[in-house]
Subunit: 137 residues, 3 copies
């Protein structure tokens, strides 16, 4: 079994941001030489997520509105007694989930026509990382 790990770095200009990372993941799969297997794409932070969906700006705005609706910024979270003000960022990350596994078949990401990988930043404007680990033959 072959294994290959790289890390992506992000420092978004906005507090919340959705970054399309399929091309970077494809490059790492190519670097790995793995022809059949999986690639784990996993945020290394507790206020960020990774998900698979459409690269369409209107939908991305809908996703952002929806996350704010279901996990809103508020002053009165208990987490804020520690001096933090980002409890909503944690809840948004839990909702969207912090990782995906992408299948690799014939040396390529085996995704459906419209599936794209996104890094979802919920507490940005600082250095953040995503681990990408390829495993297979």
């Amino acid at each position: 079994m072959r294994s290959h790990t790289e890390y992506l770095s992000f420092n978004t200009r906005k507090h919340r941001a959705y970054v399309h990372i399929t091309p970077q993941v494809e490059t790492i799969v190519r670097n790995s030489g793995v022809r059949d297997g999986i690639v784990l794409v996993s945020a290394m932070h507790i206020t960020a997520g990774v998900y698979v969906n459409d690269d369409e700006s209107g939908l991305i705005a809908d996703i952002d509105d929806w996350l704010e609706y279901l996990a809103p910024f508020r002053n009165h979270y208990q987490h804020h007694k520690t001096g933090e003000d980002n409890a909503d960022s944690h809840l948004k990350a839990l909702l969207i989930h912090h990782q995906v596994i992408l299948p690799i078949t014939g040396g390529k990401l085996d995704l459906g026509t419209w599936q794209r990988v996104f890094y979802a930043e919920f507490d940005g404007q600082r250095e953040k990382r995503v681990l990408v680990k390829v495993m297979g033959e």
Copy 2:
């Protein structure tokens, strides 16, 4: 390491549907010859999910009501400016998640007593696919 990939196809009669697929996944695990490892079950669409829970019709109705409550159909999503009308299907898929990893031990799915795998269709009445990739020894 052994690897084995098959694809399941769905074309549900209803717009939303929950299809029990544990038997199909078990067959693919048997076909793979893998005795110890994992199987990735992953929707290849951005309006469909895969989840593990109970095969009980009342609970499935509750899950459907709950998804519609948290990610409702509405006319005024921004995604609909593209001519689409299925933004809620994307949000439901994000909420339920589009994939699971099932463990394989002793040649069998290593699931708890009540755990069953479901394909969750949120924009059906058309051809959809699920990738099933077995990896292990």
Copy 3:
């Protein structure tokens, strides 16, 4: 490829509980001898979850409040016609998700500074199990 499986057991005193299990997972990774790979941590029940986030008691209380807000206990779920009263436990488990994959690099869990693994119990006061399967070289 090396594979190693262990099971964790829980019997929480409360109906809902959040148990920090990173040390137990680290021990299992050490037991496996795997230096590079992944570890699947997956609840074997349909009313329990596994997630990665902060080990901070205020945030854990926020998560619990938030899950109860989005997937509340109610009497009138359809699942309750079977005699059960825990439909909300199923919905909470679906929301938080029942499993994570943790990367292993250099013989250790390759997590970010604040990432910790939790078992989330939504219908406790009984014996429950989590599967931990390590795969790699």
